[in-house]
């Protein structure tokens, strides 16, 4: 049990990669806060965690809303007394639109949810980590933040921004014993790519990687657990690609 007695907050923990991270944290002995906009689904992941013997709480949060994030952080710290690990998974992918057709509202929404959330959540939890002189922050970026994707300029920009944010924050909080890193997944077997592709297309793309290995949420969760563990104490400001070899940066 690599994370015994640690308190871990996973935003976007109700489904997909976030759910795999939350369950993995619980299996490693952490007490887990499943923070998600989808309260019912978050509750059911918290129930799964309890069934594994882990202490867990589900908290409804809109990660792009300042007061909502503040409430989530406050109830986490009231209930568990500390926060050791923050995993920023919550994010959106859709809509698909070329730059000239993208509305200002959709631009703002993508940037706010994908990277504004990192700012709001880190701002709330860094003081507690700083007081402990230890902490782990891991943010979900994307390979698309490196190589871009047509009709997803808003998404690519938001994920590249996550990488820049992570590097800057790593420099800021390194002296306090807090590490900050990003994970850049390739396309994974979750609901996200199914928002704009058929099932057949999704599976064909997932199987088209150099490595004959369909990327599952657990493949992304594993490296996140490693970064959250004592073994990764000397790693900060990095963005690691997990993508079955589809992209090598």
């Amino acid at each position: 049990m690599r994370l015994k007695d640690k308190v871990a907050v996973v935003t976007g923990g109700a489904q997909g990669i976030g759910r795999a991270v939350a369950l993995g944290m619980g299996r490693e002995g952490a007490q887990v806060v499943v923070a998600d906009l989808q309260a019912e689904k978050a509750q059911s992941v918290a129930n799964e965690l309890r069934a594994l013997g882990a202490e867990a709480a589900a908290i409804e949060v809109n990660v792009a809303n300042e007061s909502s994030v503040q409430r989530m952080a406050k109830s986490t710290l009231e209930r568990f007394g500390r926060a050791d690990i923050l995993v920023n998974v919550a994010g959106i992918y859709y809509p698909k639109a070329s730059v000239v057709e993208l509305s200002e509202e959709d631009w703002d929404r993508t940037i706010d949810i994908n990277v504004g959330s990192n700012f709001l959540c880190c701002r709330e939890f860094v003081p507690a980590m700083r007081a402990q002189q230890s902490g782990r922050i891991i943010s979900l970026a994307s390979g698309i933040g490196h190589y871009g994707m047509r009709q997803f300029a808003h998404y690519a920009a938001s994920k590249a921004a996550v990488i820049g944010f992570v590097k800057a924050l790593a420099r800021e909080v390194g002296p306090d014993g807090i590490t900050v890193n990003a994970i850049c997944p390739g396309s994974a077997n979750t609901s996200m790519p199914r928002q704009h592709r058929s099932e057949e297309e999704v599976m064909a793309r997932l199987r088209a990687t150099p490595l004959p290995h369909v990327l599952e949420p657990e493949d992304i969760a594993g490296p996140i657990l490693f970064l959250a563990s004592a073994a990764a104490a000397y790693i900060t400001g990095q963005s690691y690609n997990i993508n079955s070899g589809s992209y090598m940066f």
Binding site: K167, A170, R171, G174, P175, G177, T179, T209, P210, L211, P212, H213, L215, E216, D219, I220, G222, P223, L225, F226, A231, A232, A233, Y234, I235, T236, G237, Q238, S239, Y240, N241, I242, N243, S244, G245, M248, F249
Partner: protein, 247 residues
């Protein structure tokens, strides 16, 4: 049956820590080092702690010696699951006009050619097994460059791209190849050249995490790259450097 790892440079600071970490994880380790005595010392330590280990002297720049060792290891253990190429180093800090052709070749050979020769012999074994993990060693200097270390930086940059190409080549057989890029690390070899105090003064203020690495920091990353948790990772470069470089 336990997994088998072949570790070059396994008698050195980082290599020794990697061998000990893998052995602690239940992997049988074959330690190869230019300095056969150093390899044996790490082996004895691991065996003394209840692990499985063997040790050999090896010059990774000599093709026929590499071939013989890899053949012997496969014969003896029946398989090779992990290859960690850690042998290497930056023997010279010299201005380019002061570097001889022989010195240039020496640094390129021990770092880049040694990695190539080892991979060339081990990859077919892993391809037959339809599984394997190759972990090569670069350096943050392979990305940033470093004054007075032109051959070392070139060799390490070469290892990063060599590994990406190899990863693409071996992926259809589920053989993974990744690179670990250490930053400033307190190994006996570098500590010999500089006092601990001078080293602290030079490095620590420039590192976000406020210290240089110990070999164990690196060993954990090599070990992670042998586990099922890293099954979807290939062709990537893992910088472990306290934040001194964030590519």
């Amino acid at each position: 049956m336990s997994q088998v790892a072949l570790i070059t440079g396994g008698g050195g600071g980082i290599g020794g820590a990697v061998a000990r970490r893998m052995a602690a994880g239940g992997i049988a380790v074959v330690i190869a080092d230019y300095d056969g005595q150093a390899a044996k010392k790490v082996k004895d330590e691991i065996v003394g702690a209840g692990g499985a280990a063997d040790a050999f002297a090896l010059d990774v720049t000599v093709a026929h010696k590499v071939k013989t060792l890899v053949t012997d290891v496969e014969k003896c253990f029946g398989r090779i699951d992990i290859l960690a190429n850690i042998a290497g180093g930056s023997a010279y800090t010299k201005r380019i006009e002061e570097l001889t052709w022989a010195q240039w070749k020496e640094v390129m050979d021990v770092n880049l050619k040694g990695t190539f020769l080892m991979c060339r012999e081990v990859a077919p074994i892993m391809q037959r097994q339809k599984s394997g993990r190759i972990i090569n060693t670069a350096s943050n200097y392979g990305v940033t460059g470093s004054a007075l270390r032109t051959p070392y930086a070139a060799a390490k940059a070469g290892i990063i791209t060599f590994t990406k190409s190899l990863a693409l080549e071996l992926a259809p057989d589920s053989v993974l190849a990744n690179t670990v890029a250490p930053g400033p690390t307190d190994t006996p070899r570098v500590m010999e050249k500089e006092s601990a105090e001078a080293r602290r003064g030079r490095w620590w203020p420039n590192i976000p995490l406020g210290r240089t690495a110990v070999p164990q920091d690196l060993a954990e990353m090599y070990y992670f790259l042998t586990t099922p948790e890293s099954a979807a990772i290939t062709g990537q470069t893992f910088h472990v450097n306290g934040g001194v470089v964030m590519p």
